[in-house]
């Protein structure tokens, strides 16, 4: 409990500190100018999006193996937080792409296209979870859905890479816009510190989302038991039969 709270405070301080450094202290890029500063939030978001979905896929496999609903709670935490960070990554990429490439959306960039499909895949995953009731059936099916999605990702990436490579499309944007930091050392420090700060925040979010999933499961379970015993009481009151199917009150 208190460790998580402390982690939250550390995460907040780290994100604020690293952001001030990346926004105001590090010198701008020679070629891309200040627009390059968007990379400092775009790159960590993309990394954490991919990490989250990796966690979801692994937790799903773990669930199918151990049948432990705690692993399913990890999977749902990964999927929801992954969707958030992936959306951030796409938004950051678009805001960087317009001033540097001249376009918001670049179809020939395999990372951008793959990431957009990734977002669609896991939004579907979350919606699917929401529309399935039984916790074990939901966990098992979500696990296989997450697994197939994870298997699809490399194929998507590969196909978009070929899409570009086989047709030798001209690269949009001028070649003089390649990254060219005026102070490479400071640039690396700023990027790494942003990645670290975001990863600490991600860890805190994952723990909190996991806790939420566990409590929601308890409430859900209680509602189910309540409905079952209410139905049983109603039948017993109307028929006078006690303890059908060997089920006894208070057993």
């Amino acid at each position: 409990m208190n460790v998580t709270r402390a982690l939250g405070v550390v995460a907040l301080l780290a994100v604020v500190g690293a952001s001030i450094n990346a926004l105001f202290l590090v010198p701008a890029d020679v070629n891309q100018g200040d627009a390059q500063r968007i990379m400092y939030v775009h790159v960590p978001s993309a990394w954490l999006g991919y990490l989250s979905f990796g966690v979801t896929a692994l937790a799903g496999i773990g669930y199918l193996w151990k049948r432990d609903l705690r692993l399913d709670a990890v999977a749902v935490a990964g999927a929801e937080i992954g969707v958030i960070f992936t959306a951030f990554a796409i938004w950051g990429g678009m805001m960087w792409g317009r001033p540097v490439w001249g376009v918001f959306w670049q179809w020939e960039d395999p990372r951008l296209t793959t990431t957009a499909l990734l977002l669609a895949l896991y939004l579907g995953y979350l919606l699917f979870r929401r529309l399935t009731d039984d916790p074990h059936r939901r966990a098992a099916r979500a696990a296989v859905v997450g697994l197939i999605a994870a298997v699809d990702i490399p194929i998507v990436h590969f196909s978009v890479e070929w899409w570009r490579g086989l047709h030798q499309a001209p690269t949009i944007g001028s070649p003089d816009k390649v990254l060219n930091p005026s102070a490479p050392g400071l640039f690396v420090i700023a990027l790494v510190s942003m990645v670290l700060a975001f990863t600490i925040a991600w860890t805190w979010l994952m723990i909190r989302r996991y806790q939420l999933a566990r409590i929601e499961w308890q409430i859900e379970e209680h509602g189910r038991l309540g409905r079952i015993s209410a139905a049983r009481r109603a039948v017993e009151a109307s028929t006078g039969v006690q303890g059908v199917d060997g089920v006894k009150e208070g057993a």
Partner: protein, 53 residues
């Protein structure tokens, strides 16, 4: 700063979104904890007359 609009939009939505999601998560957690506590109290008050402990 050049391209100020894009930088503000990019950073603003990401940091703002992060804060909003964290805040929303804490609220959902508080609501769920309160509901879970209520259920547990209810269960205790129902169970106590039958099972004197």
């Amino acid at each position: 700063m050049q391209d100020l609009g894009f930088i503000v939009a990019g950073w603003g939505l990401i940091l703002g979104g992060l804060a909003a999601y964290a805040g929303l998560l804490l609220r959902r957690l508080a609501v769920a904890r309160a509901a879970s506590l209520r259920i547990r109290r209810q269960a205790e008050s129902v169970a106590s007359p039958d099972h004197p402990a």
